[in-house]
């Protein structure tokens, strides 16, 4: 196996690892929320400030954090992943 193949395998493995970790984080966050909805209704009904229940705050946070997680991934992939692929491609052309 040549060095470009090793470098490629390496970056591909890293991308999968990051994708899987972020996916698991999403699953944990969302199902944490759903399990609270399903099994601890009084807790989510508690008010954190007048008019704002913990359930609504967490629901809104799930939406906002989901978007931040897409931003984290896109930022990593745009800078790190694409640069490695670019270098690999430049390397194979020489």
């Amino acid at each position: 196996m040549d060095s470009s193949e090793v470098a490629f395998q390496d970056v591909a493995r890293r991308r999968w690892r990051i994708a899987i970790v972020l996916t698991l984080a999403m699953v944990a966050m969302y199902f944490g929320f759903i399990l609270l909805v399903a099994f601890d209704k009084p807790l989510l009904g508690r008010l954190v400030s007048p008019g704002l229940s913990l359930g609504m705050l967490l629901g809104a946070l799930v939406i906002v954090v989901s978007w931040i997680m897409t931003w984290i991934y896109v930022r990593w992939a745009n800078t790190h992943y694409d640069r490695v692929l670019h270098d690999l491609r430049a390397g194979t052309r020489q």
Partner: protein
């Protein structure tokens, strides 16, 4: 004052022909037909018909994805649920968003790098073409059909309520306009229709939310406090809708993993030039859709406080007219007309996207790659795609008329459950797992579809609510809790039993291509 407004809700002009709604609606039709005419001259090849020539930018695709995804169920359904049940409706707001990061992390880039027009291209890339494509077409057409029924029935009811047109006429109008977009303008027109619709829907919803907030000093918590004061603190906490815990978890699974199996969403990733653009477009789409679902908090509670649940249920028992009623309360008949036209445009655009993805499964997967073994001239491919579009449009209109008066909510849940159980496991395993085989993937897709349909049929929604039986054999309203793990299990066990060194060897080539696009 609030009670006076609730009483005034009974004097709504919903259901009467509304000149403003007609004017906005015809303006939308005129603009989109103009776009279609422009797109038709740019739609000469199969690549242009199915994938807009792969020229769509990240920002455009972000709006188009959002347009394809935010159906009337999101806008009218969630606002209605929140306004009549409070917090419970918001479970849908979060559930419909969390699928997007999953699409980004696992699916978007490999899909763009490996496929041409349909998600079956990816699953079949190192497996046997014919069986995989037939199975994928079954999953696609099942998902598209149930999604189409929901949208068509919703459109018919909506137009009847808003314009006073009769149901069948309304369905025909939707069918005809959608057919024109897809048939002549293909993916280029469909994409621009989604973009126009997404801008209208986001703009309309934002305007409505701002008008609501202006009554509460631009402080959402004061709105929520007003709702709690009027209808009890219970409206801010989980309640009746998720009385059974496992129902909530099962619905959550369908919503989270269904998005990554929706054929009309997956198809959008082929319209962009490369994987990097696909990736960025999901980031934009997630932001737009998230912003929209955050606004549903304000719209739903706004309608609860300013219109009142009784007045909303008086117009439509399902609560679907909450957002239009809110618009009427805040901006009178002209604003009602605008929001009505936006809701109609929303349905029309989603129907067009669904039809195009169904046509791709029929023509690209079944006809070109199975019936003709991949050997069809470009002219023939385009002809078959257009014939498939006409067939699907006729089927959609017939389904819309047949299922008149059905509860549409369970149809959307069904579409998500099929997408999550039939398409998602096969797609993920074919991308991630070296050892998956043709037989494994095909059994998973076929049995996943069959199990989902069977369990839905045995569920309380069909057995108790529709067939009026005493009890249901299967207790869950959404089968995803059982069928998603079942599909993965079938794919894995059958693959291990039918281990195939040739297909494993193909993974090395596919792996490089899915990461690099070369």
């Amino acid at each position: 004052m609030i009670i006076a407004q609730a009483a005034a809700g009974q004097a709504t002009r919903i259901g009467e022909p509304n000149a403003v709604a007609m004017a906005f609606f015809f303006a939308f039709i005129a603009i989109t037909i103009g776009i279609t005419w422009w797109a038709a001259r740019r739609t000469r090849t199969t690549e242009e018909f199915y994938a807009a020539g792969r020229t769509i930018s990240a920002g455009q695709n972000g709006f188009a994805l959002a347009g394809d995804y935010m159906s009337a169920a999101s806008f009218l359904g969630i606002a209605g649920l929140v306004s009549t049940t409070g917090f419970d409706g918001l479970i849908y707001s979060t559930g419909w968003l969390v699928g997007w990061p999953v699409v980004l992390f696992l699916i978007a880039e490999p899909l763009r790098n490996l496929g041409k027009y349909t998600f079956a291209d990816v699953v079949a890339s190192r497996l046997r073409q014919a069986p995989v494509r037939i199975a994928a077409a079954i999953g696609t057409l099942a998902t598209v059909t149930f999604y189409l029924i929901a949208q068509m029935v919703g459109a018919g009811g909506l137009i009847r309520l808003m314009f006073g047109l009769n149901y069948e006429t309304a369905i025909m109008i939707v069918g005809a306009a959608m057919l024109a977009y897809v048939l002549f303008g293909g993916m280029i027109a469909t994409t621009w229709v989604q973009i126009v619709k997404a801008v209208l829907l986001l703009g309309g919803a934002a305007l409505l939310a701002l008008l609501v907030l202006s009554k509460f000093g631009f402080n959402p918590t004061r709105l929520f406090a007003a709702a709690a004061e009027k209808y009890g603190a219970g409206v801010l906490a989980p309640g009746r809708l998720v009385a059974k815990p496992l129902d909530a978890v099962s619905l959550g699974m369908a919503l989270m993993f269904g998005t990554a199996g929706l054929p009309h969403i997956l198809m959008r990733f082929y319209t962009v030039p490369d994987a990097q653009t696909a990736r960025k477009s999901v980031f934009y789409a997630t932001g737009l859709i998230g912003f929209f679902y955050l606004m549903t908090f304000v719209l739903g509670f706004g309608a609860m406080v300013l219109v009142g649940p009784e007045a909303i249920r008086a117009v439509d028992a399902g609560g679907n007219m909450a957002a239009p009623l809110l618009a009427e309360t805040l901006g009178g008949t002209p604003f009602l007309g605008f929001i009505a036209a936006v809701a109609f445009a929303t349905i029309l655009a989603v129907v067009a996207g669904l039809t195009l993805s169904g046509a791709a499964a029929l023509s690209h997967d079944l006809w070109v790659n199975v019936a003709r073994g991949g050997h069809a001239t470009p002219g023939e491919q385009l002809r078959v795609a257009r014939v498939a579009t006409i067939v699907l449009a006729v089927v959609a209109v017939m389904l819309g008329i047949t299922f008149k008066g059905q509860n549409v909510a369970y149809m959307v849940g069904l579409a998500f459950a099929i997408a999550a159980s039939a398409n998602f496991p096969a797609l993920v395993l074919s991308i991630f797992w070296r050892r998956c085989t043709t037989t494994g993937v095909v059994s998973s897709m076929v049995l996943g579809t069959a199990a989902t349909l069977t369990l839905i049929y045995l569920s309380p929604t069909i057995q108790v609510d529709i067939l009026k039986h005493e009890s249901a054999v299967f207790p869950l309203r959404n089968p995803a809790l059982i069928t998603i793990p079942l599909s993965f299990f079938i794919a894995i066990v059958v693959s291990l039993l039918t281990a195939n060194t040739g297909e494993q060897a193909g993974y090395a080539r596919v792996e490089r291509e899915m990461h690099t696009g070369h």
